[in-house]
């Protein structure tokens, strides 16, 4: 078996979630490299969209930032930031990748602050950026997180980005567009989805080496655990080679510590 580190594992698992011929809202980092890996393997026409304006670029070099002229190399079109979010409102950009400091059992995400006073937080984070918009507008949001108890919390300190709010129909009732919301949560231990009725987070797959116990231990709320759970295959030699030699030879993304 080949060795791989956590970013490599996450990139390969995320890449599996990427479907061909769909639009993906991508930020910098692992989401981007996942889409690129998918494009080199099973989804050659997965189309990346950047909120900074670029549509479907070739991405011959990895950008450090989504606002970096590398994001527009041989793009299909370059539009304004408003245009991109409007395209996502009308449903063109079906998938969005998101991260955060905390997630709860309904997929609500916090990227704003830790603490109980918004005006005097224990830790202030960078803020929503486009996250609230991507999570509001995209049909299927894919959440990437480290699987830790302090991140998988019963109640996020601040709902930056809407998941299913209080579960059930609460998201729709607040007026969010029907058929939008979190679709998958991918961590270093597992892949989760959301139960259809309650909208509660549910274990879907284990990552290689992980166990249900370790997942439960590292989750700060009650996860729905089905009777039978598959374990996903580890990254293949081909995938790792693509990541290391073609997509990220300088280790910009796969050479970093995971933290979000």
């Amino acid at each position: 078996m080949t060795n791989y580190n956590q970013p490599e594992l996450l990139a390969c698992i995320s890449a599996k979630m990427v479907v061909d011929n769909k639009g993906y809202f991508v930020g910098s980092g692992i989401p981007l490299i996942s889409v690129l890996l998918a494009k080199k393997t099973h989804a050659p026409n997965a189309v990346p969209f950047f909120e900074t304006g670029s549509i479907g670029p070739k991405l011959e070099e990895l950008p450090i930032s989504i606002a970096d002229s590398k994001t527009m190399t041989r793009a299909i079109a370059v539009k304004s930031m408003c245009d991109i979010f409007e395209l996502s409102t009308i449903g063109v950009i079906e998938y969005g990748f998101l991260g955060g400091a905390q997630v709860d059992m309904y997929g609500n995400l916090n990227a704003t602050m830790i603490g109980d006073d918004y005006y005097r937080p224990k830790v202030r984070l960078p803020g929503s950026g486009g996250a609230c918009d991507v999570g509001s507008l995209c049909g299927k949001t894919i959440i990437l997180m480290l699987h830790e108890k302090r991140r998988f919390v019963p109640r996020v300190d601040f709902i930056t980005t809407p998941g299913y709010l209080e579960g059930g129909n609460s998201r729709e009732e607040r007026g969010f567009i029907k058929g939008t919301g979190p679709y998958r949560v991918i961590t270093n231990l597992a892949v989760m989805d959301f139960e259809e009725e309650s909208k509660r987070m549910r274990l879907l797959y284990l990552l290689p080496g992980a166990t249900v116990e370790r997942v439960v231990e590292n989750t700060g709320f009650e996860l729905i655990i089905p009777d039978h759970i598959e374990t996903l295959d580890p990254p293949t030699r081909e995938e790792l080679q693509l990541l290391r030699e073609v997509l990220d030879p300088t280790g910009l993304i796969i050479g970093r510590q995971l933290k979000n």
Binding site: S28, G29, E51, T52, G53, S54, E60, E61, I64, S65, I66, A67, D68, S69, K70, T71, M72, T73, R74, V78, K79, S80, M81, C82, F85, T89, T112, M113, Y118, Y119, R120, P121, K122, V123, R124, L125, P126, G127, S128, G129, G130, A131, C132, D133, S136, L137, F158, I159, T160, T161, P162, L165, R171, R174, G175, F176, I177, L252, I253, R256
Partner: protein, 332 residues
């Protein structure tokens, strides 16, 4: 169209009535073709006032008006308000220098390069008044002002999110479709700082690549200062009128500033100076060296030329080369 909810955040810049906007346009935006070229010093002295709400038009590290930002810092403002949307070093510098006390905030940070320790520290210590937004809602707030309307509806940032709760937006019901919409108030900044690839002496400006919210910001703002990589002949503008991103009458001052986006990226011209970013972020993180950074690169240099000398021709040439290799296919 009932209002169903209202965010608790402060509307840092109140929405002007259209009457006031038209009157300000008549006073501040002339259709005369006058030469507006001046130094950054003069432009900032004339068009930025204490208490102004400032927007720095950029998308992250691309095409940031850094030479103008450094001039604002140099002039020692203490009480500006600003928009922290897709912001990086621009807002970080203004915050670190103590220029800005209130911020509409959706993002200040450096993505893969790290966080804005400056913003983080100020908020954690209660030294910065903030109102929360998302990138799209801020972009739409500027678009509303550019359209001359007091608000726009959108389908993001609805009730249930704390982003909405701590914003100054409202929730309403569409009288046609029944959809719930988030209604965002127009944002009309007092002054916009914009860096462009080229413009003429009147301010007709062209940009290449990522556009962000250029036209929206220019049209939304009461006063506009443009810095430009180079000044071109007016006739060049008239040869390709489709290329004019900002028409001259929106512009109050034109400042020539080659490498004016450094250490940011200028599409097709020069790459990001990643090392410079890393150094600055590290100074902020450790708290050590930050005073020296400001003295060296801002306070002790008179202008952009002085700044570029410190960066050094060799580094600048290297950044040019890196960017231009990337786009040689445009010539193919």
């Amino acid at each position: 169209m009932r209002i169903l909810a209202t965010g608790v955040g402060k509307l840092i810049k109140p929405v002007p009535s259209s009457d006031q906007v038209q009157q300000e346009t008549r006073t501040l935006k002339s259709l005369a073709l006058t030469n507006k070229v001046m130094s950054a010093k003069e432009a900032v002295q004339r068009y930025v006032q204490e208490n102004d709400y400032v927007v720095s038009e950029l998308t992250g590290n691309v095409r940031g008006p850094m030479a103008l930002i450094r001039e604002v810092v140099r002039q020692g403002f203490k009480d500006l308000k600003a928009a922290g949307n897709t912001s990086t070093l621009d807002i970080d510098l203004l915050l670190q220098a103590g220029c800005v006390k209130e911020l509409d905030l959706c993002y200040v940070g450096y993505e893969l390069l790290g966080t804005s320790y400056t913003m983080r520290k100020m908020i954690e210590e209660g030294k910065l008044k903030i109102t929360e937004w998302s990138n799209a809602t801020m972009a739409w707030r500027l678009k509303a002002a550019a359209m001359g309307v007091p608000f726009l509806p959108c389908r993001s940032m609805l009730e249930g999110t704390d982003t909405f709760k701590y914003s100054a937006a409202k929730i309403a019901e569409c009288p046609f479709s029944g959809d719930r919409v988030c209604v965002v108030p127009a944002l009309r900044p007092d002054v916009a700082l914009i860096h462009v690839h080229r413009c003429d002496i009147y301010g007709n400006a062209q940009i290449d690549g990522i556009t962000g919210s250029t036209l929206e910001v220019a049209a939304a703002s009461k006063k506009v200062i443009i810095s430009t990589e180079k000044i071109i002949d007016h006739d060049e503008i008239r040869k390709n009128p489709e290329r004019t991103a900002i028409p001259y009458f929106m512009v109050n001052a034109v400042v020539e500033a080659p490498f004016g986006a450094h250490p940011g990226n200028m599409p097709y011209l020069y790459d990001m100076d990643v090392e410079h970013y890393k150094e600055y972020i590290n100074y902020c993180k450790t708290g050590e060296g930050i005073k020296e950074y400001f003295n060296k690169f801002i306070y002790n240099v008179p202008d952009n030329d002085g700044y570029l000398k410190l960066i050094g021709e060799e580094r600048l040439e290297e950044l040019k080369r890196k960017e231009q290799i990337r786009y040689k296919y445009r010539e193919e």
